[in-house]
Structures are given as structure tokens and as C-alpha cells.
Symmetry: C2
Subunit: 458 residues, 2 copies
Amino acid sequence: MPDFDSYLQEKREQFEDDLCELLRIPSISTDSAYAADVRRGSEWVANQLETLGLQVELIETKGNPIVYAESPPVPDAPIVMVYGHYDVQPPDPLDEWITPPFEPTKRDGNVYARGATDDKGQMLTHVKSLQAWMETQGKLPLQIKYLIEGEEECGSECLYEYLTEAKEKLACDVVVISDTSQFGPGQPAITYGLKGIAYFELRLTGPKQDLHSGTFGGAVANPANVLTQLLGAMVDSDGRIQIPGFYNDVQPLSDRERSQFGGLPFEEERFMEQIGVKELHGEKGYTTLERRWARPTLDINGLWGGYQGEGGKTVLPAKAGAKFSCRLVPDQDPKAITAALRTMLAGLCPQGIEMELIEMHSAPGFVVPLDSPFMSAATRAIERGFGRSPVFIREGGSIPIVTEFKEKLGVDTLLLGWGLDDDNTHSPNEKFCLADYHRGIKASAHLWHELSRVALES
Amino acid sequence: MPDFDSYLQEKREQFEDDLCELLRIPSISTDSAYAADVRRGSEWVANQLETLGLQVELIETKGNPIVYAESPPVPDAPIVMVYGHYDVQPPDPLDEWITPPFEPTKRDGNVYARGATDDKGQMLTHVKSLQAWMETQGKLPLQIKYLIEGEEECGSECLYEYLTEAKEKLACDVVVISDTSQFGPGQPAITYGLKGIAYFELRLTGPKQDLHSGTFGGAVANPANVLTQLLGAMVDSDGRIQIPGFYNDVQPLSDRERSQFGGLPFEEERFMEQIGVKELHGEKGYTTLERRWARPTLDINGLWGGYQGEGGKTVLPAKAGAKFSCRLVPDQDPKAITAALRTMLAGLCPQGIEMELIEMHSAPGFVVPLDSPFMSAATRAIERGFGRSPVFIREGGSIPIVTEFKEKLGVDTLLLGWGLDDDNTHSPNEKFCLADYHRGIKASAHLWHELSRVALES
């Protein structure tokens, strides 16, 4: 195994500069106004890989381009695929950012920018580890296929299609993704379970235009009132989701898993301080980690209707709407839940209101086996990169692509998270710890070595 | 009684031009960005009255100026006070206006602009009738005091203070307000009952910033979820408001009033078509007119929280809020209802959410006696102006100032509405029928004569 320490030490500044360059590109995929920036993001990644000698393609889709690159095959060594994304969430509310979201700024050992941790910074560790191998060894010990997409924050639809089309080209033995978190500062983690998601937009329309709430109040159903009635009925005061059949396929948590979660050094006080709440709240009968990692949830992500300006306006709004999503656990079927939700809403919605329920995107949850040789290889690589053994955790977030890789390519995914829980993912002041960026690069460089030694089943 | 017919015929164009000039001023009182325009509105009205020889004052307040003007006293004739407002509601949603809200446009016999009917057009009829008397008779048959304010759309706080301060100066025998509607096209009406109002803003705060709904969902109370739970619990599926004690002081509708409402030519089909709904909806057990005019309601006027942009964003919002208001009937006490609401919300709001309930403005509802000589005088004036006897109706809207006049000056108000139900008050494409503008001016001119003949109790 080569020793990358002095090389990596020497390259710190350049690797940080490269990250900042990528972070300056506002590649917001959910807002079509940023389409040109999204493309610039893809070109930047493609250019990095090309410069390192890989064969690179910018795959055009009906949406945003996919960056694909591969290194030469290595006989008898596994093929690993690195998946990541160069697109980011919208940065609003803008006025809560201390420094602008697309002007990466270093403070207290972190870099602050939209996409710093999700996923530009984490993804780039696997590009910089390639650079380390190429610039010190001249070649890789195994074949790597890079698949870096630009629609992760808006459903990955084009990538899913491409997975079906390019199944053989993308054949591999294991997938590596860094888009999750460590358990805490200095405590790396491998995530072996993720929640699924079913994301909806609900649109309600009443009268053809906003009405005077005095003259017309009492005569017609008010879409904003109805919105609160429909969504207010979704979760009861014990935190139980009221969609009929919602819990039918939810497996009870095993005693082993509950005790494993309970053994982790999770400090509720510190957690509350971090997110700024005085009390935690959720489904009755479960601990906070259980609720976050292994119990399904329903959260409203946004809602709107009527007058939102200063002062009072006595309108009865013509329209109201909301975006909301369920986080699902393994075995829950997004399709069945969507159907039950649709029936429930139709039953609750009064006459005089037109209701539209839009399915934005969905994916099932999953859990990966802990006892594979790939998992052991990753454990050793993380020990080298971070100086400490990882703990094994689950996550409340969704990476639907992991299910797609299992279903379409038949491979498991290693979720090696270099981020931290307080990185403000999807929030103002997103950040990534620069020390973790460099540790991630080192762990990744070691990972290529460790994975190259895994004996392939024939 | 002088005959104003030929004079009014001759002045039609000038009177319309004057109205359009006033409508061009965006005197939006709920938005402080328009403060200078609001002032221009007050100056325009003051200038009109001054030009007609009245003694005019622009009364400065901590908010928007009040225009006050009076004509000379007339012995043995009653003193009438004309109340109106030169401020308007915000025009949004702007993209639904066919022509811009502050570029008055004539189409199909109407003038379209924000404030056309509420209240610039209606208020101006009582200024133009003054002009008719001054330019044809050289004097008025009674003393008129004009009190035209600029905060009707945001609570009239400064006017209420002024009423207390200037009680003696404002002494009068009856108040005239035109800020309501006819019963239908060609069928004038006198409104003898108005609803009260209690307007609130509810602000909920959870975590210190927006969080990733996957990583944090299930751990903390979501302010948007809680908003829907709190507000969704306010009205049941039968349209009954659930604030404890809400109906305690609500008098049942009398058989006489129910049969009077039932006798009015109200066509539900036409009404539904006008507002663009397929079904009407409201409190069980009451007709549409009863619900609109004589039963209390609760409507959300606006709500917000989290991500409202294009596509999906998986946030758990830090904040959510809503504006909502109850329309109250006579004998309901806004203070008692506010207290009950506060207790109810506090009981429903989970730990981990900070709740702030802001009382924006409130006023009780009222009903005025139908058998006074002022009411008879107004009936005759309307017959002259509109060529038809008025019907006697109630209204769902609130004109809290009417209660103030009763309480502070001890006088009743004549609510003489020249508008129409489909004038789009508070909505895009607000309009005022120009024929009604001219009929209103004529009725007003006759009103000064009819009121001048009312014998004063000594």
C-alpha cells in the first residue's frame, strides 16, 4: 500500500482551491432559471476527470447532463463505481446566510457554501484520491467508474433511465457514495440503512379569484382552511401518521438494533442546542435516534396561500397549496402509500374545492448487509483516513439511487459519510469541515487499495 | 327641492375624470412602502373639498393623515357626517389584473382600478353631491362634516384616537357611509347590520433554522405541521367554529329575519357562477345569505412556511405562520373570543414550538334600527337617485368605525351602498359601475335635502 501522507499534505491548498471553484457554480437543479449553471457544474467535474487521464463522457439527457468517466480495467480486481452529484438545493432563505451561498468562505476550519457537504465536497474526495493515485503511482489498483449526476436534488429521473439503458456499461461489484454524515466530530460512520421517500405537492383551488372574506366568508369553502384541515389530519398528537395502512409493512425494531442505537454516544442536550429547540418531539414510544433513523415520518416542507405581506388583508384566498413528504422505512411501498393518501384526501376534501395531488418523486427505504468483505475494506480505509474505527448507523435521509443500484445493477452500496450533522445541509450556512475533506480524500485513496484486495466470487 | 338632473348630466365626464385621478394614486395603507402615495391621496381629497369652499384640515396622526372638512352650520337642520376612506387594499396577485390596478380603465360601463368601489368611488359621490349644491345653489341645506381617513384597510387606529380627542368638534346627528353594496344590479339596498371582526396573525417557530427533513424529521416538532394542526382544528366538518364558548353570545336568527332574507331574490346559481365555484359550503343548518350576513365565520386570510418555489425541497421549516380572522355577529365580544382562542391554541401547541398570537385589529358587530326618520330620508333619496326603493340587508363585511361612532359620538350610521357584489373588492380587477357612480351622486344630492327636513328632537 502506497503512503500518500506527504503528497496529500503538499496538495492541501490546491485541493481546497479546486473545491471552492466548484462551489462557486450555483448549480441549483430544482430551479430551471439555473440550467446554464447546472451545465457549467457538469463540465467542471468532467474536466477534472479528463485531466487525470480518464475517458470521460458528458451524457446528455432530457434534463441535466450526467458525467461518466472510467479508468482502465484491472484484471482480478473488483470494479467500483463512485456515485455523486454536482447539483445543489436552492439557497433560500437568502437573508439567513452569513456569507453568500455561492461565494465559498473559510471560517473556523470549515468552508461555507451551498453544496459544501451535499454533495460537492464529499463527492470531490473521490476525485482527489484518484488524483493522488495518478500523480504518485501513475495508475489505479482497480477500475473505477465515476457516475456524477445533476438531478439528485430533484428526483434523479434521467439517471434512473440511464441506469436501465446502460446497465452493461455500468456493471460493477460495489458502489461507493459519500453523501451522508459521520456520527459526530471525530467519529466516522458507515451508514447501512436509509429511509425512502414519497414527496407530494397538494394544490387546492376554490373560487376563481381571491374574495373579500367579509362579503363571501361563510358562503364557500376556503382553500387555506381546507389545506390545514387536510394536512392537520395527517399526523395525530402522538406523532402517528393517519394515512390508512401506513404502518402495515413497517417492521418492528429488533431488540438488537434498539440496544445498538442506545449504545451510541448520542447527547440529546447537545443535539437540541445544535438545532436550537428547547424540546424534542416525535412519535410516542421511540427514542430520538429511533425516530430519526428507523421510524417513518411525515413533514410539511412548504405551504402557501392568500396574503403573506405586511399588515392584514381580509381575503378569502382562491388557492392554497403545500409540499410535503413521507420518509419511509424498508418494506413500506411508496405506491401503496400514495394510493391510500389519495383516497384519504379525497374523502376529507369538501365539495367546492378542486384538489390536485402531484407525486413529485418517491423511493423505498433499504438496509445493506453489515458482513460483506466490501464493508470490511471500507472499515479499514476509514481507520486509515480518520484514525478511528467507524460506527454503523442508519440515516433518516433518502438516497433513492441506492435502491436503483441494487435493483438495476444488482450491487450494494457503501455509504461512507464525511459530513457532520450540523453541516446545515439544505439550510442556510451549509458548511463542510476542511479537515474532514482531507481525511475523506485519504480514506478514499486507501479505499481503492483495500477494495482492490477483495477476492471476487466467481 | 332643487332639480340637479341637467347639471349632473353636464358634469358626467368631469366627475369621471376626477375619480380616475384619485384612482391613479396607489394609497396602499397596509404597506409602509406606499406611505408617500397615501399622503398624496389625502391631499387630493383635501384639495377637492377646499376648492368647494369648505374649511379643510389635514389632521396629522402617528399614522396616515385624516382629512377633515366642514360646511357652515345651518340652524334647525341636522348635522350629517360623511365618513369614507382614501386608502386601499394591496393589489396582489398582480398578474391576475387585466389592466394595471393603478391605471383606471373603463370597460363595459365600469371603471377598473384598486379602490374603484372600496372606497374611493363610493366616497367621492358625497363630494360630488356637495359640488352639485355649491355650483347650483351656492350653499348646502344642512351642515356636513367630512371625515375621510387613510387607515381603514389597516385598522383605523389613529381615527379611533381622534374620535375620542375631537368628540365635540365631530358632534353630529347621523353618519353617512357608502362603502357597501347594492343587493344586485338595479336593486339598491340599505345595510342595517354588519359583522364585527377579530383579525390575528399566528407565528410558530421551531428549530433555529430550516433543517433537512430526512436527517431531522421525527426528532422535532415541525412548525408547518403544527400550523395545520392548530388551524385545522378551528372549524369542524359541519362548519362550526371550535373555539370554546364561541357561540355563547350568538343570538339565534329570528323567524322574521329568516323569512325576510328568504324573500330576497338571491340566485345561488348566479352567485356561484360569479365567484367561480361549483358548490357552496358553510355552516350546516343555515342558508347561504344567513351564513354570509348573520352567522360568524373563521377564515384563513394567508399562510406561509418553508419552501414555496418550483420543484421539491426537503426541508423541515424553522417557521410557519398565518393570518386569519373571525367575522363576528352582534353580542359576540372580540376580547372574550381572543382570550378563548389564546387558551385553545396554547393547549394544542406541542412543546418545542414557540407560538406568538398577534391581535391585529378587532371590532364587534352591530345592527341599526330600521324605523328612524334618517332611515326614511335615506330611503326617499335612494328612490330619487336610483329610481327604485332600496331593500334592507345585512353584510358579512366589517366597518368597525360604525361601532365607534355609536360608542363615542352616540350616533347611528346610514350605510348606503352604491357598489355591487361582483365589484371584486379586495381582489384583482376591482371595479365600480359608472352608472352607479352617477346614481350615487344624485342620491347623495337628494339625501342632503331629505335629511335637512328631518325634525330634530330637542
